[in-house]
């Protein structure tokens, strides 16, 4: 099949893969990519429940505006679309029932 837009997937080289913790689960991600990206690749799109009605929420604007992808690190709120993956990172979700640190 003729492709006018080439597939570059195989030509992308990424930094090493590490695991970090998301709500006590080990998630693999590449060092230096955003936590939101790693989580969505790992099947974790649901990041929090909306405080008023418990509606499911995940990354939305992906540029630090909407605050939908908020997670906690060290008990403080962080935008997961701006937080980079590193080894030993421990992230807690704002899902209902998730353990706040």
């Amino acid at each position: 099949m003729i492709r006018l837009v080439p597939n570059h997937a195989a030509r992308v080289q990424r930094a090493r893969s590490v695991t970090f913790t998301f709500d006590d689960e080990a998630i693999s991600g590449f060092v230096g990519e955003t936590v939101a990206t790693a989580l969505q690749r790992g099947g974790h799109r649901l990041l929090r429940h909306a405080p008023e009605d418990g509606g499911a929420r995940g990354a939305f604007c992906c540029m630090g505006l909407c605050q939908e992808c908020l997670v906690q690190v060290g008990g403080r709120p962080v935008e997961s679309c701006r937080l980079l993956v590193s080894a030993d990172l421990t992230v807690t979700s704002l899902k209902r029932g998730a353990q706040s640190q």
């Binding site: 837009v5 992308v12 955003t34 403080r76 980079l84």
Partner: protein, 473 residues
């Protein structure tokens, strides 16, 4: 602790970075503040450290060239820094910046705002489902992480962005389930005269569309996503054909997908301009509410300049030139000389702006799109307020965005109203039988982004607390 500059530039996209460079080359001491790790803005966003090597794109090449220029210049870049407050001062401007968890104050004679745009996403049933991201948000993922939004993605929205996103998904090895766009082929043909002025972009866009056709990706012209299926993850979308006014009227059709990229045009990010004291006026042809700015970047306030999409959506090519023109104007202001007339640059700006505005015209949502919302569709994502909540408040007498905000908290959540006020304005206009241009957004309030208490508190010494005159007994 404050640092003093001739000029502070807020935003390091094509407009801001070029303004900063031009002013620095003219001999000004320039600081440039940006949220991202590196200059480039949304359109030329730099790669995150995760990417060690990858094929280049026109965006990455433009961005790398710009970053190279900034690196070689005297511009002092405050990266990963968030401006949260802007104040006018006797000496010019005071800019309060959050950097590495601390507040830094920058003082400058002139301030250049180059805050760019954000996306308008028309609320539809299910748009809060995880797995639905903005079209512009998708481009951020592509550019910084070279990552995909899912395995099989529906790409839906207005203007050229929908085709760029679909094409990038294919370039990065993903599968596009379908492209769904409210625009008709005829609308694109009508934009042709404006597009031939930029043959490079025209050819590129044509390639994207041709590639989608060759790959057998269905393109649904004059359609919109009417509903998203899935509770905690997208399982598919329902699309419908639209009328000329973009109201849904066709039979629903289901498309299976695990992700959706959705966007309906860009709108100027004008909160910083509002904080700096500029009035906004409604310009549908420029993407919505924007401050009054001329081609030289001058505003109604002394020492305040503005360039790029924050002055109205004219696109990256225009923003780049507008940045250069504004850099010249601001540096002339700082040096106390009359700005030179750069006719060639002015002409180039007008040409680029015409192209950009043609794209904006294709992207701006039409009224009918509103009717995709149902009574229980969430409008304010932060507070989970539905269309019926908002309409009930309007019917009870709330006639302004300010009143709806106060009564319901629509706009008081963490996003500060960035994703609901456009829709709320339209709902008010609709109820009053008026126009959106009669329903301005609420007063902008600092901080421009949420700021940690610990950062504001800083190294507080209790004994330094100024004890005021006691209140009268």
């Amino acid at each position: 602790m404050s640092q003093i500059f001739d000029i502070v530039v807020i935003g390091a996209g094509p407009a801001g970075a070029n303004a900063a460079l031009t002013a620095a080359w003219a001999g000004c001491r320039v600081a440039m503040v940006d949220e991202q790790r590196k200059p480039g803005g949304q359109v030329w966003r730099a790669k995150n450290p995760v990417v060690l090597e990858a094929p280049t794109t026109p965006e990455s090449r433009s961005g790398d060239a710009l970053r190279q220029e900034v690196a070689c210049s005297t511009v002092l870049t405050f990266a990963q820094s968030r401006v949260w407050q802007i104040e006018s001062a006797a000496s010019g401007w005071e800019i309060y910046v959050l950097k590495e968890g601390k507040v830094v104050t920058l003082v400058a004679k002139a301030l250049i705002l180059a805050t760019g745009a954000r996306e308008y996403v028309q609320p539809v049933p299910g748009w809060t489902t995880p797995g639905v991201i903005g079209l512009a948000g998708a481009t951020a993922m592509f550019k910084q992480d070279l990552a995909l939004p899912g395995q099989r993605t529906v790409v839906s929205g207005t203007g050229p962005l929908v085709f760029f996103v679909a094409s990038e998904i294919r370039r990065l090895g993903g599968e596009v389930a379908a492209v769904v766009t409210p625009n008709s082929k005829r609308e694109w043909l009508r934009a042709f005269p404006a597009m031939v002025r930029r043959p490079d972009l025209l050819v590129r866009g044509a390639l994207w569309v041709a590639d989608l056709y060759l790959a057998g990706v269905p393109i649904y012209w004059r359609h919109a996503v009417a509903e998203i299926d899935g509770e905690t993850d997208v399982s598919g979308v329902t699309i419908r054909r639209l009328t000329r006014d973009w109201a849904p009227d066709g039979e629903p059709e289901f498309l299976g997908a695990d992700s959706l990229c959705l966007g309906n045009g860009l709108t100027p990010a004008a909160e910083a301009a509002q904080l700096a004291g500029l009035e906004l006026r409604y310009r549908a042809d420029l993407g919505g509410w924007c401050p009054e700015v001329d081609a030289s970047g001058e505003t109604e306030r002394e020492g305040l300049f503005l360039c790029g999409d924050g002055a109205g959506i004219r696109g990256a090519a225009a923003a780049e030139i507008h940045g250069k023109l504004t850099g010249e104007t601001a540096s002339a202001y700082v040096r106390g000389v009359a700005p030179g007339e750069n006719h060639l640059l002015q002409q180039a700006y007008q040409r680029a702006a015409r192209f950009g505005m043609a794209m904006t015209a294709l992207s701006v949502p039409r009224k009918g799109l509103q009717t995709l919302m149902c009574a229980d569709t969430v409008v304010c994502r932060c507070e989970s307020l539905t269309r019926s909540d908002i309409v009930a408040e309007i019917n009870a007498g709330a006639q302004s965005t300010l009143s709806v905000k106060s009564g319901l908290r629509a706009g008081m959540g963490p996003c500060g109203g960035k994703f609901c006020q456009g829709t709320i304005s339209q709902l008010i206009a609709q109820a009053k039988g008026g126009e959106v241009s009669d329903v301005p957004p609420p007063t902008a309030r600092p901080p421009l982004r949420p700021i940690p208490v610990a950062a504001l508190a800083g190294d507080f010494e209790y004994d330094d607390l100024p004890i005021p005159k006691p209140a009268p007994l």
